[in-house]
Symmetry: D3
Subunit: 165 residues, 6 copies
């Protein structure tokens, strides 16, 4: 059965006629805002062993993915059509090997002082870091799976804090 959307709710990025729009944040206050997102890529044990070995040597797979994530966060508004261009005051991208997965886990935290939040910047950083791991490992394992990528928490702004239950 098909559920009806909740009473009075509407997609913020679509106007009354159904057309896409950038949400107008002119009237919002410029406040400190942060967002934290996480994601993972699952790979074969053999592939993970190669990444681990590389890290012992020089750490380049994880280093490259971290840099890619940081740089992607800064370009979020070029990729996601209705995102606002924002000055970012901090982007941290952390990658960890996870033997149990097996694979790599990524977490990104982004901060700004602006009229809108940085959830998309954090999610973009995670997604591009994971794509970069895929790129560097794909010659040994094309079957890797990226995800789940999700928001962990956000803070700042009129909407108040949110965190994943």
């Amino acid at each position: 059965m098909t559920r009806r959307p909740a009473e009075g709710r509407a997609l913020s990025h679509v106007d009354a006629s159904g057309a896409a729009r950038m949400v107008d944040v002119s009237a919002k206050a410029e406040t400190a805002r942060t967002a934290r997102a996480a994601g993972a890529i699952r790979m074969s044990g053999d592939a993970l062993a190669l990444v681990r070995e590389n890290r012992v040597a020089k750490g380049d797979v994880l280093s490259v993915a971290r840099i890619a994530g940081i740089m992607a966060a800064k370009r979020t508004s070029e990729l996601v059509p209705l995102c606002h261009p924002l000055p970012l005051s901090s982007v941290v991208v952390d990658l960890q090997l996870d033997e149990a997965l097996p694979g790599v886990r990524v977490e990104a935290t982004v901060a700004t002082t602006a009229r809108t939040g940085v959830e998309m910047e954090a999610l973009t950083a995670v997604s591009v870091a994971l794509l970069t791991v895929y790129d560097m490992v794909k010659a040994v394992d094309r079957g890797m799976e990226i995800g789940p990528v999700m928001l962990l928490e956000k803070a700042g702004g009129a909407g108040g804090p949110w965190s994943r239950a």
Copy 2:
């Protein structure tokens, strides 16, 4: 227990000293190549109902995500540090609502005639299309999960075809 990488295997994007590098494809033949990738975003039934309703009206959520995916495929080499810049001859991004998920499914197919493949372009198109859906729906559901994003198949090039088992 920690597995050792398979004998004689190595990460193609890392040189003997462990440093990151772009793989040299100078000696490869310029051949027709395609790649197909897929992904999904899971959301609440309420959020999906809003997307479905919007599609009936004008289809903008899915339209915007499709355009974002196509445009992102063209910029893959700017995002993924060791990817080669390639001319693309075709990018198709298809989005479908999935009531059972509930959520949206994305599939991208990319083609080129070049010295290297377009797996990363297809995966990037899928990832950015899903990020765009997240962006447009996040005001009604911040808990959405992106993934799994994966390669379905590739063809062309010396390595021969590959498809997900």
Copy 3:
């Protein structure tokens, strides 16, 4: 006959020696500013009929052009050499079929809180939206004409409001 420029007037983007420069806005106040621009593309009646039919179906020609306009507004400072990079708080791009033209009319409204105005962002959004319509329709009509593209009004900043007579 060649008119002399008005007494005491000079091009703001050129210094005393005639060299191009970005205008220094350091001393200006950060205030709310908006700009609205419009433009049109004239095409054959047959071409317009195809666009109209497409709109009835899914609206993609106009949707794609709207997204292209919004995204281009955000990249104005990369395209127009002496424009300042600005955070934008709102970009709205509206497209309408005009049977009398015949063709498509575009209007863009951009808002920011910054030290300089957003006229160029509004004009860039209109221009790229029109280029996108041209691209999607060109296989049926290469003779289309883009223009006139013009500023309709601006508000905010020390210069005060301006509107087309």
Copy 4:
């Protein structure tokens, strides 16, 4: 009265379901292709006098606009969503003062060896060169009008040559 589109014609950038797509050019031959486009910006006689005077001094307004046009041609596929990224072998942008208009005329010629044409690159070069003139002159004349921008001719490719009647 509303005309019906010509029998059997369809928008190449829209698939059977009405969704936007990049045209698949995989099967097309890589051939030499050129396109030439033109446009103009109309301004007050006073504004034109300032541009003319600047040209006598150092030529920066026209120089900056020419560079902006050349650089924009190279980024066409980032701006126009369904354009193919192409290697360009030549971009020429020429600007002339036109006392009779009064204003500035721009002509751009682009060449490539590729699977698709460069009409959009030529039109984008013209449009961005004109936007740049607008930007540099706007402090003395906000009422300037950009257009008409149009394709003059194209050559190369299976479709054969086309030129404006």
Copy 5:
């Protein structure tokens, strides 16, 4: 002999574990900041004579390099991975022929009101202006040398002013 780093000093762009990070400037005040950088390119006397002659005619070599420097300053955060994206309020790039070098000297001054400084923007403007001179002159002299490129002074921010001794 290998010196040990000074007591208590550390690289600001590397965290305690040695991983790269963007410095968090959230807690810094938004203040007016400027930076001035300089650089040079040394070429043969014959090459310089061609540049000088071109300048007399229309000044395009220096004009193009100036525009390239201004535009590059605006894209610094896309090029230098750990730089913050900043709104810039002014970018001035000045080029001078230097017969004694022989070659071209470049100086760039950048201003912003932001939470971090614009040294990298000034240095990037200088570097890209010099690369552009190299590009335009390389057909007559491939042996040109770029450098030294250095910061001349900075002002604003908690760190106080700095200028080259």
Copy 6:
């Protein structure tokens, strides 16, 4: 005394009227081409000691600079106005600490199969890698000097090989 340019020589990137242009390479053959460039950054012994220590730990300063250089090579045609956009088949960026300088040395080698060479790509990779080292080390030494940056050799194309004497 001012030398006159050599008989019959002219700047390839400037037309007969002195205006800037992209060189037309349509008639050139698509051949394998490579270029190798080098550069250095000189810093205090203390600053170098910090970079060396970081390398022992995780190597991030050099890793980040290498990635920045590789990514910049791919964007050369966006930065240097008259460069042709090219597909690159290989970019290698190597960084070495030099105790004697003291500082860091960078070498970049770029390869393509195209109608024009990749000298600018190699020089851009070196320049941006050096800017990135500056950025990461500037908090401990603002007086660092970048340069000389120079072409070491090029091969391929009608002009034949060239190497620094």
